[in-house]
């Protein structure tokens, strides 16, 4: 009798999916107060003042460990099983297996080589979304001492230098630098981050998003100087150039993401 019961319980246990590994710590969100904000991207030649409503943003970019836990729980988003519609051949290309980044520091490394669709699906699993470009820009404008430090040339140069120093290497580790005044980390110097409206960053009505050769000549050379409020903010220009050239199914080794929750959404 007892043996039968034990056998049945063991059978039940085999059918129940175990929870994710303990090294994928839950993402923490911090509240970013709202405000008015002048975007660094122009609308044609007009300056854009955005009213940003308060929102909650993940403190840090999504880590490899967190994303590994997600694909273990949602196998349809694993490399090899993901629909070609949602990611090309470079999706999670550097991972050891479809569920294992093979990185001893996976808990502190930002996940990259994830497509826009996969990033959205991850955020969706947390009842969250990708930030809009304006939300991201607003959050990233803050330094550790000021809500809008974009005009600080020393800081601007340091950000560019940090991005240049990362040339050719895989992304660094999260948490090496102080948080900004909102409590957010690693927005500017670590990786490029997906935004929900990546394709609408340059006015390009009637263009096909993210295909090489099409699209606004604002993306090229001197034309880009017209699209920025301050064309000498090279780190911003590099980031915008990198993001605006992506198609949603692209997985790029330097592009990761974090999620936001618009306040008023259910947690």
């Amino acid at each position: 009798m007892l043996r039968t019961l034990t056998g049945l319980l063991m059978l039940l246990a085999a059918l129940v999916p175990w929870p994710a590994r303990a090294d994928a710590a839950a993402a923490r969100f911090v509240t970013v107060p709202g405000g008015h904000f002048v975007s660094s991207l122009l609308d044609g030649t007009r300056t854009v003042t955005v009213r940003v409503a308060p929102f909650a943003m993940m403190e840090e970019p999504v880590t490899e460990a967190q994303f590994a836990a997600f694909v273990r729980q949602h196998p349809g988003w694993q490399r090899g099983r993901i629909a070609p519609l949602f990611a090309g051949s470079n999706y999670l290309a550097g991972w050891l297996t479809p569920t294992d980044p093979g990185d001893a520091q996976a808990a502190r490394r930002p996940v990259t080589a994830v497509s826009w669709f996969a990033a959205r699906a991850y955020c969706d699993s947390l009842h969250a979304e990708l930030p809009s470009w304006h939300q991201w820009e607003y959050a990233a404008a803050a330094s550790s001492s000021s809500r809008d430090a974009r005009a600080n040339m020393i800081r601007r140069n340091a950000i560019l230098a940090a991005l240049m120093r990362a040339t050719g290497q895989r992304p660094g580790l999260i948490g090496q630098r102080p948080a900004n005044v909102y409590g957010l980390r690693d927005l500017n110097r670590l990786i490029w981050e997906w935004v929900s409206d990546y394709g609408a960053m340059f006015p390009d009505v009637n263009g096909d998003v993210g295909s090489a050769g099409s699209g606004s000549v604002l993306r090229l050379c001197g034309g880009a100087a017209l699209a920025f409020r301050d064309p000498s903010d090279y780190a911003l220009a590099e980031r915008v150039a990198a993001l605006s050239m992506l198609a949603p199914a692209d997985s790029s080794p330097f592009v990761g993401f974090r999620c936001v929750r618009n306040l008023g959404d259910a947690p």
């Binding site: 049945l8 949602f86 959205r120 969706d124 009505v205 009637n206 998003v209 295909s211």
Partner: protein, 196 residues
């Protein structure tokens, strides 16, 4: 004790049956079918609601719009009509059109109906729809359409109209900006003929 064991066995059996039932799916969609996006329910200008995936089985033109759009969307709709006329002239039959709004907050059924009257389109050949549940961002992503709300109202966005085959694969796309691309018209004629 025996009853407990019996109940446990019944529960296990029941779970097994449900699992088996779910495993018996209809024929799988091709890997690149747009109907693979997470489920969307749409409602059209006449108030009929349906799932996006239920559109499978017929070639269609699929795009996105919003009802209060002043310039690009009217041009989009006008161009689609011109394309359909060109298809008829080329000896083909017009295929059904579905446009999905990316402004569900404002585009309720009344707004959709008003837009349909304004542009002279009617169901079921030309559906103006909004999503009731689901993630239209995913739809935009697979179509290559991106939008951003403008502070004064309206959206900054691009236009893509896709020709889907009966299984939902994107065969060709067109920017629907007033110019008729003969290659796109030819693709529609070919696809419609092939699935008669």
């Amino acid at each position: 004790m025996k009853k407990f064991v019996q109940l446990l066995c019944a529960a296990l059996l029941g779970t097994g049956l449900i699992a088996a039932a779910q495993a018996a799916e209809p024929a799988p969609l091709p890997a690149t079918s747009i109907y693979r996006i997470p489920p969307l329910t749409l409602v059209d200008q006449d108030g009929h609601s349906f799932s996006f995936a239920s559109l499978v089985g017929t070639p269609r033109l699929l795009g996105m719009f919003y009802a209060s759009c002043q310039m690009a969307c009217p041009i989009e709709i006008e161009t689609i009509k011109q394309i359909e006329r060109a298809v008829a002239k080329a000896g083909g039959k017009s295929i059904p059109v579905v446009l999905v709004s990316f402004d569900p907050a404002h585009d309720d059924v009344a707004a959709l109906r008003k837009a349909a009257v304004q542009h002279g389109v009617s169901a079921p050949e030309f559906l103006l729809t909004r999503a009731m549940t689901g993630d239209i961002g995913m739809l935009g992503g697979v179509l290559g359409i991106s939008w951003r709300p403008l502070p004064g109202g309206g959206f900054q966005h691009n236009v893509v109209v896709a020709l889907l085959d009966r299984e939902g694969r994107i065969i060709a796309t067109d920017p629907a900006n007033g110019r008729i691309a003969p290659a796109f018209v030819a693709a529609i004629v070919r696809e419609e003929r092939a699935t008669r």
